[in-house]
């Protein structure tokens, strides 16, 4: 449980606790046995972790965390995985401050068996995915129907593909393509991304 100490703002450098009592948690640092605030916010104690944290009052640098819903751009499609660069973390306005190179293994694409990632994704696709792991590298998964491609481009003429039934169609050259699309393909709300 996170206990809110009081509603006063703490500022960087303010003393919160000691390292004998608590662990230095999110938004804090330890110096000479004293735990201090590292940002502007409200001092909280995480009873489960026995750590001191500062719930930020300001916007904070965006660090990709396990469980984050992200948008990523497909950079290459290999036989066993897809490499995608994370470009946006859901609900965040700032650019990402941590490593953005993500990997989506073939086994994490769908609940059903996928043999070859190139039947599901293509270069330049914008996908929505969930972060499974961040260390040592960012691992993504797209098993839920909310996840998958939200925008993709015709492999012949690079025009944006529109959803037509279960497949995608290029309104310019008539080319039909297949992707693992998210359930809101082409109907997303910019503010909800």
């Amino acid at each position: 449980m996170v206990e809110n100490m009081n509603n006063n703002l703490v500022l960087p450098g303010d003393k919160l606790s000691t390292s004998e009592e608590l662990m230095p948690g999110d938004g804090t640092f330890e110096e000479g046995g004293i735990i201090r605030a590292a940002r502007v916010g409200i001092y909280c104690i995480d009873e489960k972790q026995r750590s001191a944290t500062v719930k930020p009052a300001t916007s904070t640098p965006v660090i990709i965390k396990r469980g984050d819903i992200v948008l990523a751009e497909v950079r290459s499609v290999k036989s066993s995985m897809v490499i995608a660069e994370v470009i946006h973390v859901k609900g965040k306005k700032r650019v990402i401050s941590s490593d953005t190179n993500g990997t989506l293994r073939v086994s994490e694409i769908s609940k059903s068996y996928v043999k070859d990632p190139s039947t599901e994704f293509s270069l330049g696709d914008i996908i929505r995915a969930k972060v499974q792991q961040v260390k040592p590298s960012v691992q993504l998964e797209t098993k839920d129907p909310r996840f998958g491609v939200i925008q993709s481009f015709c492999s012949k003429c690079r025009h944006v593909l529109t959803k037509n039934g279960n497949s995608l169609e290029c309104s310019k050259c008539g080319n039909r393509e297949r992707r693992r699309i998210a359930d809101d393909y082409g109907t997303y709300d910019l503010d909800q991304l």
């Binding site: 703002l9 450098g13 940002r39 941590s98």
Partner: protein, 242 residues
């Protein structure tokens, strides 16, 4: 630059009516820009300073990256119209030097290890200049960095002391800067008292230096209170709205 025709004291008061240990009026506002990750507007006497912080973000060009921590990239710039005689736009040797010493002062206070290969960009724009712009710029940068939520050990602050007509004074004004005997800009971590930036030009005895430094540090501590009040002012309201 000495000029015997100019009197910097009248009836024990300075040209602008201040006592020796008075600061000029200071106004600080946190979070004033839309695009920046953190920002601050500061008026200090006739100075008008705007600071925008961006990042941490991938440091470019790549060879500037440090794989163990973020780098701090302060850029001090004077607007062409900020001074009496129009300044040519773009960096000159003076602004590059100031950018460098401010970057170094800020590096000491930020927790940079959390952001390997990134840069934290601190853009300091002097819109109207009137003596002590580097101290004003660093002070505003401290508030803008806190506004950007960049993890830091303290809010850095700066203030100058100096000597005019043989007397030690706090926070030199325009004429005092032009015709005084010495200028001593100092930045500190107010919590620990550590000195982050120190420059001096002019002429001081060791004894005078000790006193001037003490004066500058006291000035820093006063300005520090104004920084904190500005941050609390900004975020108290936002918390109440929540």
């Amino acid at each position: 630059m000495k000029n015997d025709n100019i009197k910097l004291f009248r009836d024990g008061k300075r040209v602008d009516g201040r006592a020796t240990d008075d600061l000029r009026p200071i106004k600080i506002e946190a979070g004033v820009l839309h695009r920046a990750d953190g920002s601050c507007y500061l008026e200090w006497g006739g100075n008008k300073i705007m600071v925008a912080v961006y990042g941490p973000r991938e440091a470019i060009p790549r060879h500037t990256q440090n794989h163990l921590r973020a780098i701090v990239n302060a850029r001090y710039n004077m607007a062409a119209f900020s001074v009496e005689d129009r300044k040519r736009p773009g960096p000159d040797r003076r602004s590059r030097e100031i950018s460098k010493v401010i970057s170094e002062a800020l590096e000491k206070i930020l927790l940079l290890e959390k952001f390997p290969r990134a840069s934290i960009d601190v853009n300091i724009e002097v819109l109207n200049a009137e003596a002590g712009t580097r101290c004003a710029g660093l002070t505003a940068a401290g508030v803008a960095l806190a506004d950007a939520g960049i993890p830091m050990k303290d809010i850095p602050v700066a203030c100058a002391a100096g000597k005019i007509e043989g007397q030690l004074v706090l926070d030199l004004g325009k004429e005092e800067d032009n015709y005084g005997d010495a200028d001593l800009p100092v930045a500190i971590s107010p919590r620990t008292g550590e000195i982050l930036l120190l420059q001096m030009d002019g002429h001081l005895t060791f004894d005078e230096f000790e006193k001037a430094l003490d004066m500058a540090i006291k000035g820093c501590n006063k300005v520090s209170e104004l920084q904190k009040a500005a941050i609390i002012q900004k975020y108290k309201v936002e918390l109440e709205v929540e």
